[in-house]
């Protein structure tokens, strides 16, 4: 064996070593390739994750945008609402100011009414004292004249003095009536339940006592109860009954009927007589103060009675009216509203 064989064996050794080296290098390269591919997979995975995160943040961004939009809308609405509220507030402020002004005015008017009433009271008081005294003096001195100078006076003289006396009486009556009228209009109403039948009976008894000698016939129908100021209603009824008695003076028998009927759910009371009656064309004058449809020669009176009746009835929120026919009697009607809760 020679050198060639050794050389070939060396070359074979070298090539096998080379082969091993190449195999090792191949292995290493394969390992590197493996690592690289694993790395690639990792990178791909990371890429995917990053893409997912980007996707999520995109969706999140949209959500945030939507929320922002919603918040902006709400803020807008709140702004609108506040504007509306401000507007309402200023409107209400104006209304409140107006209402306060009206209240103030009412208070002032009320105070004026109270003062006015006080003045009327003082006036009545003064009238009460000061007007009656001179009347008494006129009447008194006239009588003294008649008494002490009887011998110097003929029938005509005595008649003239009696006129002075009767006129003075009349004025005294007028003063009294006016005062009553004025007071009735002012005093407080005291409401209670009233048995109208017994009241009418009592009032008639009172007023007919003065004419006991006459043939007075009362037809009293059962009357529905009323609610109001008993004293005032008594005065109103009294005046109506007194009138009926007065204007039936020339009748025998004098028939006075007191009854009631229903009108639209309200009780309407009436006092009817068979007396001299009146002409309907003067009906509108009946209730005026001092208005009369007869002369004092025919029938005495001051013309305040019916005005009193009207005042009382009106203060109860009711109506009063009359129907009549000359020489055929008259009927006076009145209604009273239910005063429950008002007094």
């Amino acid at each position: 064996m020679g050198d060639s064989q050794k050389a070939i064996l060396n070359i074979l050794d070298d090539s096998s070593a080379e082969k091993l080296r190449i195999e090792a290098t191949q292995k290493a390269i394969l390992n590197i390739l493996d690592d690289a591919s694993a790395e690639k997979v990792k990178i791909e995975a990371t890429q995917k994750a990053i893409l997912n995160i980007l996707d999520d943040s995109g969706a999140e961004k949209l959500r945030i945008e939507a929320t922002q939009k919603a918040i902006l809308n709400i803020l807008d609405d709140i702004g609108d609402e506040r504007d509306k509220a401000d507007h309402l507030n200023s409107e209400m402020a104006v209304e409140i100011a107006e209402r306060k002004r009206v209240e103030q005015e009412l208070e002032t008017q009320q105070q004026e009414l109270v003062n006015s009433n006080k003045e009327l009271e003082a006036f009545s008081y003064s009238v009460s004292h000061d007007l009656r005294a001179p009347l008494r003096a006129i009447d008194g001195y006239g009588r003294i004249l008649t008494e002490d100078y009887e011998g110097y006076l003929d029938q005509e003289g005595r008649r003239l003095l009696s006129v002075i006396s009767s006129e003075t009486q009349r004025m005294g009556q007028l003063v009294d009536d006016l005062l009553t009228f004025s007071r009735l209009g002012r005093q407080q109403l005291q409401s209670s339940d009233i048995d109208m039948t017994t009241l009418a009976q009592a009032v008639f008894q009172e007023w007919s006592a003065l004419d006991a000698y006459r043939a007075l016939q009362l037809e009293l129908k059962p009357l529905p109860p009323a609610r109001g100021d008993r004293a005032l209603i008594s005065v109103a009824l009294g005046n109506l009954i007194a009138n009926a008695i007065k204007f039936t003076r020339n009748r025998d028998p004098a028939v006075i009927e007191i009854g009631s009927r229903q009108e639209n759910g309200l009780s309407v009371y009436y006092v009817k007589d068979n007396g001299v009656g009146f002409d309907m064309k003067y009906a509108h004058k009946l209730f005026g103060v001092f208005q009369r449809l007869h002369s004092t020669e025919e029938f005495e009176g001051t013309g305040v009675g019916l005005a009193l009746v009207q005042r009382v009835i009106h203060r109860h929120g009711g109506r009063v009216w009359a129907e009549g026919k000359l020489d055929e009697g008259a009927t006076f009607y009145f209604s009273l509203t239910d005063m429950k809760g008002e007094l």
Partner: protein, 152 residues
């Protein structure tokens, strides 16, 4: 004025016409011998309670005081108040004789202890009758209280 004369009626009236009519009505009943007329509240108080009133006068009270309400200087209500508030004079009968029919006057005077309240009628016959009856009642029919002697 005779200090011995017993004054039975003290008339407190500022209006001379009303005074004359009252006196005339009393005269008709023979009651005027012993009437003393004063024209306002101050004079009345002076007469009954006054510092210048002599002891005898204070001792012998009138049987009745006719008192008008509307008087100058001191008015009737004040006279009434003073008379009824004073131990020496509170038992003297006081009759208010006035034009006023006002409820407040009636209530107030009775509150102060007035013995009677008469509204002067406008009609003279009625007035005369009222005064006459009142005079007869207080001077003849009514039993007066024992005169109260002033503090010595």
């Amino acid at each position: 004025m005779n200090m011995e004369t017993l004054i039975e009626i003290l008339l407190v009236e500022d209006n001379p016409r009303d005074a004359e009519l009252t006196l005339r009505a009393l005269k008709k009943r023979n009651l005027t011998n012993t009437v003393m007329w004063v024209k306002d509240g101050a004079e009345a108080l002076e007469y009954i309670l006054g510092e210048n009133a002599d002891a005898q006068r204070v001792n012998q009270h009138p049987k009745v005081i006719l008192l008008d309400l509307k008087l100058p200087r001191v008015d009737g209500m004040e006279v009434l108040r003073r008379l009824k508030a004073d131990e020496r004079t509170k038992s003297i009968p006081v009759v208010v004789l006035t034009s006023s029919r006002e409820e407040q006057d009636i209530v107030q005077t009775y509150g102060l202890g007035v013995n009677s309240y008469i509204v002067k009628p406008v009609d003279f016959d009625n007035f005369s009758e009222a005064v006459g009856q009142m005079g007869l009642y207080w001077l003849l029919l009514n039993q007066p209280p024992e005169p109260v002697s002033a503090a010595a």
